[in-house]
């Protein structure tokens, strides 16, 4: 093979590889959803055991119908639930787990939904599978020893 053709071949291979990489990078950009869901939910996570605010007023786009679906759909929450006679109980969130169900600490939450005129303080909200999410809702999750 002539030297000039060999150079052309090498250049062609390099350009093809670069184009393939660029193509896949662009495909990743275009397949990232602009809006994951129709609802925007504001979340605060407060670890009162270690006196640390893990998340403050972070907004999430979601399609989830209930609070439980939302918590389970967001991978970053690492949600673990356990079934009780009252419904699913949040056993672990963001790596913080209830070791002893009798002694705690436990995960509790408050729920504010202006569109539904609901404002449940922390500890007074219903079971997560029965909390219907609407756009603009705010959820405050607290890891606490105070039941």
């Amino acid at each position: 093979m002539k030297k000039s053709n060999l150079i052309k071949l090498i250049v062609a291979i390099i350009v093809i590889i670069a184009a393939i990489i660029a193509f896949f990078v662009m495909r990743k950009v275009t397949t990232t959803p602009v809006h994951k869901g129709e609802k925007v939910i504001t979340v605060t996570i407060d670890d009162q055991v270690d006196h640390k605010v893990i998340m403050k007023d972070k907004k999430f786009d979601t399609d989830s119908k209930t609070l439980l679906q939302f918590l389970e759909s967001e991978k970053s929450f690492k949600t673990v639930t356990t079934e009780t006679k009252w419904g699913p109980f949040i056993k672990s969130l963001v790596g913080l787990e209830t070791k002893d169900m009798n002694k705690g600490p436990w995960w509790m939450y408050g729920y504010d939904s202006p569109s539904q005129h609901i404002n449940d303080k922390v500890g007074s909200a219903p079971v997560a599978s029965k909390v219907n999410l609407t756009n603009g809702d705010t959820v405050t999750l607290v890891f606490t020893n105070n039941m």
Partner: protein, 171 residues
Amino acid sequence: MKKFGLSTKDLTRCALLGAILFAVFYIGSMSIYGDMASFIMLLYGVYLDIKKAWLSVLVFCLLVMACYGGVASWTIMYLLIFPQYMFIYNFVAKKTKSEYVYAIVGFFLAAICGTIIGLPYTLTAGMHGKALLIYLTQGFMVDLVTGLLTFLATLFFAKPLGKILRRLDNM
């Protein structure tokens, strides 16, 4: 008899070259990523006299207009852009004989043509932010492949095909 410095024979040749370009475009339009029209335009721009290249591409654009969208924003953009590409190719051909430079210029012009053609829509659709970015990126993905094909075809086939084109032109 000569019009604009071109004989009847030249004008017929331009019509034929425009028709060949249209045929290549038509075949390429059957596959989203198979467009070689940009490469043929590069050949015309680099290896033909500027008047003939410009007129041939003008014929092509008018054929596209006649056979596809009629007077639509994109067919008008074809008319505005592609004949002008001939000036760029002609300018580059005067400066260098390197097929590498032709290939890079061909890649660039093929890769941006979709974005330029879509400008009227982009400007009037009211898109902004991420929606605009995604729209432009999706278009650029197709153009990237067209640009790549133009680059490779220019690198390997421009010189031999250019010689044939020049021989036909001098017949």
